[in-house]
């Protein structure tokens, strides 16, 4: 449904590369996540795919329409939710919805079934001005407006940024339900934990794709052994871990610190820590998450770049 081939975008006179020969494809009905921090190139990719920007290299198609030559066809058929939910602040909820329905040549009634599950959550505010809604409500309204014309493909650019965790979770529940209607969804997010709710994900940093696969395969093919360590003095722990002989990489990870080790023996680490004077330590096997994968790939990427 969506195909990118060596898509490239540069900005400014110095030709700063924002998107660096990115290639991947999204199948029909897939929920695909583009995961990466600010400045990784996610928004640039979205804007090229929705035909708002011209690429500087490579090509891409959406539903077999070329993003440069067939931009009209793409614009008439996709749903787009740009960052910071651009809605008409001084129109009410229902006025916004009506407007977008009409712009796409349809009515709210025609495709109401599609947005029903989402709309019922904000229905009681249908006369409230969009500017006066909370972040979570705006998000739901923006999604409805993007869906109202029953698009085949949905582009959601960081839809959960700046929204409270409860709304975030509800939003992903909604996306899962939409997927069942065979709508292809391309989402971008900086939150690693949301990656797990996608069918497949692409990890992106500084315009380059680090990896593409299902979340499960990415974590299971992590490669190294990962241990989780806890102690009373986390800061000292983090400073000490790099000097453990078996350490490949170590970093903070919330309550526990994560250590990638060559020698997969928790007890060995525990012993070493005690020897270093740490008390109350706990060393267990860690569950590898997408964030661990990302951190590992980031490290590799940096070495790659340095070598170039």
């Amino acid at each position: 449904m969506i195909e990118l081939k060596e898509l490239t975008k540069t900005y400014g006179k110095e030709k700063k590369v924002a998107v660096d020969r990115v290639s991947f494809s999204v199948e029909t009905g897939e929920l695909f996540g583009l995961i990466g921090p600010d400045g990784a190139g996610k928004t640039s990719i979205f804007r090229m795919l929705t035909t708002l920007l011209l690429p500087d290299g490579g090509s891409a198609t959406v539903d077999r329409n070329d993003i440069v030559k067939d931009y009209r066809a793409i614009r008439n058929s996709v749903g787009y939710m740009p960052g910071k939910f651009s809605l008409y602040q001084d129109l009410t909820v229902s006025e916004n919805l009506n407007f977008f329905a009409t712009v796409f040549g349809t009515t709210i009634d025609e495709n109401y079934e599609l947005i029903k599950d989402i709309y019922v959550q904000i229905e009681k505010f249908s006369d409230r001005r969009a500017g006066k809604l909370s972040g979570g409500m705006k998000q739901k309204l923006a999604l409805c407006c993007a869906l109202i014309h029953k698009p085949k493909v949905l582009f959601l650019d960081e839809p959960t940024t700046g929204v409270d965790p409860v709304s975030r979770r509800e939003f992903w529940d909604m996306l899962a339900r939409l997927k069942q209607q065979s709508i292809t969804i391309l989402v971008s997010t900086p939150y690693m934990d949301e990656a797990n709710r996608c069918d497949r994900i692409a990890l992106i940093q500084e315009g380059q794709i680090l990896a593409i696969d299902t979340p499960g395969k990415l974590t299971s093919s992590y490669g190294d052994a990962l241990l989780a360590v806890k102690t009373k003095n986390m800061y000292a722990l983090l400073k000490a871990l790099p000097s453990y002989p078996s350490t490949i990489n170590s970093y903070a990870f919330g309550e526990y610190a994560h250590v990638a080790v060559r020698d997969n023996r928790p007890e060995a680490l525990q012993q070493w820590l005690t020897g270093e004077g740490f008390e109350g330590t706990e060393v267990i096997a860690a569950n590898v998450t997408v964030e661990d994968v990302f951190i590992k790939l980031l490290g590799k990427n940096k070495t790659h770049r340095a070598e170039k």
């Binding site: 804007r47 708002l52 920007l53 011209l54 996709v78 960052g83 651009s86």
Partner: protein
């Protein structure tokens, strides 16, 4: 104290590194001094006048030659038929007509005095007063010349102020204000409106949809069109009933021309918003970039005829100039469409041109 100095240093850094503001800060005074110093003047020179010489004798010809030679006047037309005397006023070709009676020379020789009729276009009372004063000066001079020693002769003038016998300033002022107000409101409001969509991001969504640029532009202009029509009506009512201004011509024509001018301003506003990407810049350009030229070049404060030629050319592209002429012609002079079709055409032309330019420049992509 040290803290204050710290703040000072920071503020200097901010100011000096902001190139655009610096340009305005230093560039603007230079431009203004040059314009106000050289270009704008209330004095009149080479004003176009017409003469009706019913006598056609040596004295009248000498006098007319004297008028022509003076730096105040340029005799643009010599009219033979007194019935045609109002024509130059209608076409705007002359601001003043001098009528010499038949047998001028004889009368002067016989009676030692003669009367000359001076008719001035008082729709701009300031210019009219200035010009009639100049005429008197030239005549006085001529008188002295004719008989320096002999009995004093007098060439009297009978003044007629056409269109505005009481020389009310409001006749000149209200059309000018109408042009200014309509221009400011229409340009600024539409300019901000489109840019606002760009700033809030809703323009992005609109672009990725089956919308058409023309539809967006027109739909943004129409509310302001209606509001401005109400505005014009209001101004006219105020002028007529509170300021005592007459409407000598057709009200329908006046309203129709006003609507045309409003549309012209709306298209200028649309063009500004198509080219700018921030509301602040749009507002600045509308206010500064449009208001100043309108005040300076519409002709209601400073006569355009007396500006250096380059500035006169610039004034031709200021829509307000043409509207001002139209309003004065219809409202004050009571003229009809046949007299203002040229100006109307120019306004229509500017409108179409701006619209085409806006459509062409409307970016269908973000970059």
């Amino acid at each position: 104290m040290k803290r204050f100095v710290t703040f000072l240093r920071k503020e200097f850094a901010h100011v000096l590194r902001d190139r655009k503001t610096l340009l305005i800060l230093f560039g603007m005074p230079v431009v203004q001094i040059l314009i106000f110093g050289f270009a704008l003047t209330n004095e009149v020179s080479n004003a176009r006048i017409a003469v009706v010489d019913q006598s056609n004798d040596n004295t009248t010809r000498r006098l007319i030659g004297r008028l022509d030679a003076s730096r105040y006047f340029e005799v643009a037309q010599t009219i033979s038929d007194p019935q045609q005397m109002v024509k130059p006023f209608r076409s705007g070709d002359a601001k003043l007509v001098i009528v010499f009676p038949a047998q001028f020379e004889q009368q002067l020789a016989h009676d030692n005095s003669v009367e000359v009729q001076v008719i001035a276009d008082a729709s701009d009372p300031n210019v009219a007063t200035t010009l009639t004063n100049y005429v008197n000066a030239v005549l006085l001079d001529f008188q002295q010349e004719l008989s320096p020693t002999a009995a004093p002769i007098s060439i009297r003038t009978e003044m007629r102020m056409l269109y505005n016998p009481q020389l009310k300033g409001v006749h000149n002022f209200v059309p000018g204000v109408m042009a200014l107000v309509l221009m400011l409101v229409c340009v600024m409001m539409t300019a901000v409106s489109i840019v606002r969509e760009k700033e809030t991001g809703t323009m992005e969504i609109l672009l990725v949809s089956p919308f058409q640029p023309m539809m967006v532009m027109v739909s943004k202009a129409i509310p302001y069109l209606l509001l401005s029509i109400i505005n014009v009506t209001f101004i006219l009512l105020l002028s007529v009933f509170v300021l005592g201004l007459p409407i000598n011509g057709s009200i329908t024509l006046l309203m129709a021309e006003s609507i045309l001018f409003i549309i012209t301003c709306l298209t200028v506003g649309i063009f500004i918003s198509v080219k700018t990407s921030s509301q602040q810049v749009a507002m600045l350009i509308s206010l500064m970039g449009m208001m100043l030229p309108t005040i300076l070049f519409s002709g209601f404060m400073f006569p355009i005829e007396n500006m250096p030629v380059p500035l006169q050319l610039i004034s031709n592209i200021v829509p307000a100039k043409w509207y001002y002429i139209i309003v004065k012609s219809v409202m004050i002079k009571g003229l009809g469409f046949s007299d203002i079709w040229k100006e109307t055409l120019i306004l229509a032309g500017i409108t179409i041109f701006m619209m085409a330019l806006s459509l062409k420049n409307f970016k269908i992509r973000l970059a």
